[in-house]
Symmetry: C2
């Protein structure tokens, strides 16, 4: 099943636009999981079990697994195997390379890991993107307008008559012949959601920065959703994973997810 | 020892500006290594043994190891452990992420893998770069002007009075307080070497695209070298790794490296 179809099914079944970011940091795990054979895997499995009926997607950030070495890659594979159908998995790796190197990355994330979607950095242009979009059933989310202060350095700088990130959107349309491109739009940029949605009415947006980074949920949902009241994946990582550092961490994660889901749904046009 | 010091020593000892790209593709290995326990590792060790007195750096591209899963990470660690001092290892991963995620990547590549230098994509701005430059002894090579056709899409587009990649160079100077930033400048962009060197007289340039991608060695060296006749790492991967598909693959790699080294040295101001 394609990413889009999985996302559609999971969104409807769970009535949710919440994406849980599995950015699991071994240093931040509750004491009660530290004695498990693989604390990160056990923790992830508990989080998934507690939230799988409340989310539309899971998003592991590859950096957190890569930092653990070879063992991390296996842990990520095992985590992804634990996600029940039809919930899709979007791997956040922000890769950006060309030609046969990009093909290697696409193979790694889509074939070896089995990701349904991937984040890709578009700086190097067409031949850094098309090796990923060639996987028609997978969705490639282009890093477009991010939620960090550094977005001012290049992304928002004017390039001719519009900022660089709008050029990325224009190129995204050119590359979107298989209708499998999405955009990463930072949650702390709410003033831009309406204009970005107008430029890309049908593309899914991955919106990080809700929660720990302090994005404005109401504005993001009202201005970011598509005509069907969907098309946005609102990601929260730390706010859910570390909602409690006690033995109730999974219950607390569930409560935090439920609250976020409902806060989002208040503003959906459905 | 810092990357810069290692590079300086290796360049002088081996009288070389050649960087060998260890982009080892299991599908392209000679038949004679296929029966080894770990064909990629064995092949890399043979290549390193045959070229270590002729190069200034090795550059494994992380994609080729990531595509092999957990086993690939271990293979890369073992490959890097085989590189003799003082030759530095530059890991080409083109990572680009922010805050605590960037810190995870920095930890992965500099601490866990032990890379001396790393390629980083600057699209997301300051907070996507400074977590890497905080490792003072390591050098961060910013993806700046690349050798692929897609460089026309964004990198070379005018942003105000100069192209985007020149803004990256201007920011690189701001971020270079510890004198540990380099630039990735594609070897198929020889007409730009003189202007980029004028803008960054003292930064090392990683120049991919020599060899398989057909860059012009003479122009790259004449216009790219710094005042000491160094400051450029001319990378060749496929032209060296796959110089022969027979049992003489390592000898052929040595011959190809020697020829490239001497072709480069013809044009150095030393």
């Amino acid at each position: 099943m394609s990413f889009k179809e999985k996302l559609h099914q999971a969104t409807n079944r769970n009535n949710s636009l919440v994406c849980v970011g599995l950015d699991t940091d071994p240093a931040k795990l509750p004491a009660c999981v530290q004695d498990k054979d693989n604390p990160v895997l056990y923790f992830n499995q508990q989080i998934i079990d507690a939230t799988a009926d409340l989310v539309c997607c899971y998003k592991p950030n590859f950096a957190f697994y890569g930092a653990l070495g070879a063992h991390g890659f296996t842990t990520l594979q095992q985590t992804m195997a634990h996600v029940p159908d039809p919930i899709p998995v979007l791997v956040d790796a922000k890769v950006g390379d060309i030609g046969n190197t990009a093909e290697q990355y696409a193979r790694k994330f889509f074939d070896v890991l089995g990701a349904d979607a991937l984040t890709v950095t578009p700086y190097m242009g067409t031949d850094a993107v098309t090796p990923f979009t060639a996987y028609q059933d997978c969705t490639t989310f282009l890093v477009c307008l991010t939620s960090n202060p550094g977005a001012d350095d290049f992304e928002k700088q004017p390039m001719g008559d519009r900022p660089l990130y709008e050029h990325v959107i224009a190129k995204a349309h050119e590359w979107n012949t298989d209708d499998n491109i999405g955009l990463v739009i930072g949650g702390t940029q709410p003033e831009h959601f309406a204009s970005v949605r107008a430029l890309a009415p049908d593309m899914p947006f991955l919106i990080p920065g809700i929660g720990a980074q302090g994005g404005d949920i109401e504005t993001a949902v009202k201005n970011g959703q598509d005509e069907q009241g969907a098309g946005i994946l609102l990601n929260s990582s730390r706010g859910i994973l570390y909602a409690s550092s006690g033995e109730d961490f999974a219950e607390a994660a569930r409560t935090a997810t439920l609250e976020l889901r409902d806060a989002i749904n208040e503003h959906r046009n459905v």
